[in-house]
């Protein structure tokens, strides 16, 4: 049976706790394993943290809309924000093979999202960023 969950977050970092609780409840309903739950939470955390820290030019309260859907062996996440245009899919990968002293942290969140998700699609619609992420669940136990 398909399961859908909608979450609305405000642009403050304390909302990451709301996000974690919502992902947990979605994972329970969809009977996802702990690893899948952790990885979904991580990908969403990185996206939401990026939006909260970098998307807005003003000090106003903004809403970030997230929909989680589970059907059969696929999870689809849709994330919408009204921040400045930002196409995640066009960002470069970080350099992961540097020594400690030269290693930089930028881009690691995006690297996680690419690693943890199978497909990422970006659209700019009605002055909003809309990101769709897909995760196939066929490799359970892998």
């Amino acid at each position: 049976m398909p399961i859908n969950k909608h979450i609305t977050l405000e642009n403050q970092l304390s909302e990451l706790n709301t996000l974690a609780a919502a992902v947990e409840s979605f994972a329970e309903q969809a009977e996802l394993d702990m690893k899948t739950q952790f990885n979904l939470n991580l990908a969403l955390d990185e996206l939401v943290t990026n939006i909260i820290n970098y998307a807005y030019d003003d000090e106003s309260v903004h809403q970030i809309e997230i929909t989680l859907s589970h059907d059969d062996a696929i999870i689809v996440i849709q994330l919408t924000d009204d921040g400045r245009p930002f196409d995640l899919t066009k960002q470069p990968n970080p350099e992961l093979d540097k020594e400690l002293e030269q290693r930089e942290i930028g881009g690691l969140g995006i690297h996680f999202i690419r690693k943890l998700m199978d497909k990422i699609t970006y659209q700019r619609i009605d002055n909003k960023n809309q990101l769709t992420l897909e995760k196939q669940l066929h490799e359970e136990g892998a």
Binding site: M34, D45, K98, L108
Partner: protein, 115 residues
């Protein structure tokens, strides 16, 4: 997230509990700075009660590792749960940070390098 600070054998032991994300990483950064500024460049971070980490947490640990290295000290991470270890793995951080299974191994490693 809670941070319990204890004195180990020639090192400070910071035991993390809860979630290390962009909402909580600053408190760990402050504690690490307090410890290192207080003259203790040998730091063990115990992950056994940590449930979650994001790139914000990795950032703080990377900065601390650079600081202790500059002070001729060591940062050792121990007791990671599997999901958290995987985050370190996909970051390439297992190659640049020192990770042990247990706190005892971490302290023994410090003992042998500082002796």
């Amino acid at each position: 997230m809670n941070i319990n600070v204890n004195e180990g054998n020639g090192c400070a032991v910071l035991a993390l509990e809860g979630r290390l994300d962009s909402n909580t990483s600053e408190s760990l950064a402050q504690q690490l700075n307090t410890t290192i500024d207080g003259g203790q460049p040998n730091v063990v971070v115990d992950f056994s009660q940590l449930a979650y980490i994001s790139s914000a947490g990795l950032r703080v640990l990377l900065m601390a590792a650079k600081r202790v290295k500059a002070s001729k000290g060591a940062l050792i991470l121990c007791g990671m749960q599997e999901h958290i270890r995987e985050v370190f793995e996909i970051s390439g951080f297992l190659q640049i940070l020192t990770v042990t299974d247990t706190q005892q191994e971490a302290e023994a490693m410090l003992d042998s390098t500082t002796a």
